[in-house]
Amino acid sequence: MKRLLVKAGECAVSTDPDVILEAKSLGSTLGVCVQDLSRGVAGMAVVVLPRIPPKEDGTDGFRALDAVSGLQNLFLDCLAAGAQREKLDVWLVGAAQFMEEPKDMALGVQVYAAARKVLEKNKIKVRGEHVGGQVNRSVELAVSRGGLKVRLGGQKEVNL
């Protein structure tokens, strides 16, 4: 199997059945995983910010810097690769939090809420999620298999 690493602020889509999409050490960023198993399409975005900060020029080439552009790019890439919107499964992983954090510094909470808002606005349901808490996560999504694998702090594994 070939591994395709998706870094913070990036998104990737594959139709290669031998590919596993992987995001390591998500921290407070949000891994958005998408799959149309019937069409053999899978995609992953690692979203960093709820929105692009005002007066900040562009995204510096990051395709998933914020929830709005990141989800838009991810879904458009999946559809362009042959996925059908109504058959897409969506999972959310990451968005870790510190034990106590001021609201304005709660990046995980902010980016999760922003992504949820985009998904709800577009009437896209979430099949499963593993988010929040003081847990650093990594995630894997195999193009040819349904479901995804979440690794917690490099130790335990959970299948969604």
């Binding site: 690493l5 870094k7 913070a8 602020g9 390591k24 050490s25 998500l26 921290g27 407070s28 960023t29 960093v48 910010l49 709820p50 929105r51 692009i52 900060p53 005002p54 900040e56 995204t59 510096d60 990051f62 810097l65 990451g94 870790a96 939090q97 510190f98 034990m99 106590e100 954090e101 001021p102 304005d104 510094m105 990046l107 995980g108 808490g133 003081q134 847990v135 650093n136 702090g153 490099g154 130790q155």
Partner: protein, 302 residues
Amino acid sequence: MSGHSQPDFTLEHVFVNLTELPTFPKVVHRALSLLDDPNATMPEVAEILKYDPSLTANILRITNSAHFGLSRQVTGLETALALLGQNQIREILTASASMPYLQRSLQGYDMEPSDLWEHSIGAALTAEVVAEYRGYNDPALAFTAALLHDIGKIVMNIHVGGRIDEILAVANQERLTFAEAEWRVLGGDHAVIGYEILRQWEFPPIMSRAVRSHHDPDLYVQDELSALLALSNILTVQLGIGVGADGFRYNISPRLMERLKLSRTDIHRCMKRALSAYRKAGDILALYQAAGDGGVQDPGGR
């Protein structure tokens, strides 16, 4: 659990063992002192450094990183020093000298072999971004403090080692931060050890104090460098760069943003710029493969 949760004064042994920790290269301290001397010249700085071949090699590798933006590949020390600014030279010297210490695996903190190097470089780049954003007068000092902020972990790792489960159990049961649980189980934490190491390495007191304070919400709001370092570490963890078992098990002071006069939007801007800087510094991160203990296929994975 209570029988295991009392301090066992391991910290005493930690401080005894500090004498066995390799010292920070004296030539680098001498070079840094020369940079403060208005009468000193770059050839004099190069003269001090050139007799340490591994240090020189590290300096040239880091100098040629895209992060430092030189228009051509540099192969000689004197040329490198002539082309770089004072702050850049300071950052490169410290990073080069720190490489042997920061490229170690820390099983005690559940950190993979490349994690400490990635986290240290990530925090240093973030500190530089935040310092420049804030108009802090010495971004190179912020870079250096952040680069070395977790140096105490390499000593504590020996002692945390087999007791990581105990520390995490105490933290979970009593809802303690990782540092509080470290104190409860071991009688010390990596920030205190880091302070002592940097004091022995003769770094400025303001810097060792910032390292001492970087997980203590009451302390790090007391001065600007400490606040800046604490924030840089937090943002680096949130970006998922080199996160260990202790990663999110801390509290953030509600006064931190106020201390640095930063809004939520400011934080997001710094985060975006830090991520860009981190991506640009991919070749510095790749030095882990060149000089570390290997075994990692994609050290710049985040």
